[in-house]
Amino acid sequence: MYTSNTASRLLSALGLFLLLGGVARAEEPPLYGFGRMATPAEISAWNIDIDPTGAGLPPGRGTVQQGAVLYASKCAACHGSTGTEGPKDRLVGGQGSLTTPNPIKTIGSYWPYATTLYDYIYRAMPLTAPQSLTPDEIYSVVAWLLHQNGIVPADAVIDAQTLPAVKMPNREGFVPDPRPDVLVR
């Protein structure tokens, strides 16, 4: 086992190595020369992913009240008026159910990151018109969904700063793959 002193020395050495490596590393030239440089415009048109740091979240904001209106008109037909009725995925409730004989996986009970809501709703929802919602609309419906799940208060404002700061109830609920876990013989 390392002492903390040894560990910090190792970390310093590693940092120095990475720094030197980064400085000393020469870019390898392309081997085949196929393809072309991507333009900033085509990158930004497709660069729609939002990671847990919130990188990529656009300007804009939304409230729970605005989200209630949007949800009722664009989401409730598939997910139910309170997010629990379906017929499609249940979005609300289920907290505390994961260890029971009837686990209910929802945004509130299962999703580990609030940023995933923005990413997914923009790229894939509503099912019949993906990528049709504006940033303000998405922030609003995210605010409503988080409030329905008891995660943010009724007066919450969701934007690029507040969304990554939301701590989801099941944030610590995921573990790495331990398989093989079923051993025979």
Binding site: L18, G21, G22, R25, E27, E28, P30, L31, Y32, F34, G35, R36, M37, A38, T39, E42, I43, W46, N47, I48, D49, D51, P52, L98, T99, P103, K105, I107, Y110, W111, P112, Y113, T115, T116, D119, Y120, R123, A124, L127, P130, Q131, G173, F174, V175, P176, D177, P178, R179, P180, D181, V182, V184, R185
Partner: protein
């Protein structure tokens, strides 16, 4: 040529099924003699009813001309079983290891997009030295590679967690198929863009209406992932990702992103919906396993299987075995509900990360019994019993069900899905 034909085509006038075609043949033979062979060959398809043509001796009539794109025999009818989100491969009717492209299972998250290959681009950006855009022609110019591999949806057999649900092997194991895949190694194309030293994950994104995404650990996919444009010798089928699909040997099907449009290199997983709320495996203690990529060793008897009916006497037991960790090392078959096991014959060549066909000659004595198969791969992993799998993971993990499949043979020869 009125009366004989009209009488015969009325079902109410039919005699025994055995006699009826003979009567036709006599009539047809006479007609052919009277008209001459060439004339009959020309007249018969136009004037005789379809049933009559089927009973025509094919050695006496010239066949149809060559066709630009082939189709199967009109009497072959096996097909995929479709739902709104997926379709299932009919393994009960297939031979060998290759799944015909038209019968390869489908799973998509908002339909099959219509993509013009000439306009399709692959964008590579993020932690690379040079963000690059490739046309399909660019990608096809790179050194290519071909591998025959299975793709299995992690939800294959998923309904079996809760009990014996599927009636046929198509329903229990239809979310897997094998094709010969051709493309350019992912490593070749990423190296062309220049991988920055701190890149550790890659986001792969499709250009379907779900803009399907998965984060993948870079070190793993650099080893053997392929950017595929070929399937069984021709361009990918639309439902398999035309014109470009990522195929990762042995990993759950949803990581093999179809209609691939973008690869973004980053330092950490992007935590998309498909790797958080979906494709994670809930355990009894409430913890969910994440990034469970590998499809573990599994096998299933495809014939006889659910819905088949067998006769006493010789029965060749046929099935498929596979492992996402590598090679199938052995398959054993039990014809007594798991009490005794005997080695099955493996069809050569056995390929890594590929379906392996196994066969076992058996003589059924007409008594009720249960048929099972069990796969061992070259990592030493042995396919578990359902009891062992459920003891380890409970019944709510949805994905990665790879237990031994049991088919009960009743005294009437009827085969059904049971759990033992």
């Amino acid at each position: 040529m009125s009366s004989p034909d009209q009488e015969k085509s009325d079902p109410s006038n039919r005699e025994t099924p055995e006699e009826e075609p003979v009567g036709r043949r006599i009539w047809l033979t006479r007609a052919v003699s009277a008209m001459g062979l060439t004339a009959a060959g020309w007249i018969a398809p136009a004037l005789l009813p379809a049933v009559e043509q089927n009973h025509t001796d094919p050695t006496r009539i010239p066949g149809r001309m060559p066709s630009p794109y082939g189709s199967r025999a009109s009497t072959e009818t096996t097909q995929r079983l479709t739902t709104a989100t997926h379709s299932l491969t009919p393994h009960q009717s297939l031979h060998g290891i290759i799944t015909p492209s038209a019968l390869h299972f489908e799973r998509h998250h908002n339909g099959v997009p219509a993509i013009d290959s000439d306009r399709h681009r692959l964008l590579i950006h993020g932690l690379v030295d040079r963000p690059l855009a490739f046309s399909m022609n660019d990608l096809i110019r790179f050194p290519s590679a071909t591998r025959t591999m299975f793709i299995e949806c992690s939800g294959n057999s998923g309904k079996e967690w809760k009990g014996p649900t599927g009636k046929t092997v198509q329903e229990t194991h239809g979310l897997m198929s094998t094709s010969e895949w051709t493309g350019v190694p992912l490593a070749t194309v990423l190296t062309e863009a220049g991988i920055k030293p701190d890149a550790a994950w890659v986001l792969a994104e499709g250009s379907d209406a779900a803009v399907m995404t998965r984060s993948l650990p870079l070190a793993d996919v650099l080893k053997d992932a392929l950017l595929c444009y070929g399937q069984n010798g021709e361009a990918l089928r639309p439902e398999q990702g035309y014109p470009l699909r990522l195929v990762i040997p042995g990993w759950e099907g949803n990581t093999c992103i179809k209609w691939l449009r973008r690869l973004k290199l980053g330092v950490a997983p992007f935590m998309t919906r498909e790797e958080t709320s979906r494709y994670t495996d809930l355990m009894p203690d409430g913890a969910a396993r994440q990034f469970t990529f590998v499809m573990e060793a599994k096998s299933v008897i495809t014939s006889p299987s659910g819905g088949h009916r067998i006769e006493p006497g010789f029965v060749e037991i046929r099935g498929l075995a596979w492992s996402g960790r590598g090679l199938v090392k052995a398959v054993e078959v039990s014809t007594d509900g798991g009490q005794t096991w005997q080695p099955a014959q493996l069809q050569e060549p056995v390929l890594s990360h590929c379906h392996t066909r196994f066969r076992f000659g058996w003589r059924w004595d007409g008594e009720e019994t249960i048929l099972q198969s069990r796969c061992t791969d070259d990592s030493g992993f042995v396919q578990p019993t359902r009891a062992a799998l459920v003891a380890a993971r409970g019944v709510h993990s949805s994905y990665h069900y790879n237990a031994i499949q049991s088919w009960k043979v009743g005294r009437d020869g009827q085969v059904t899905n049971v759990h033992v």
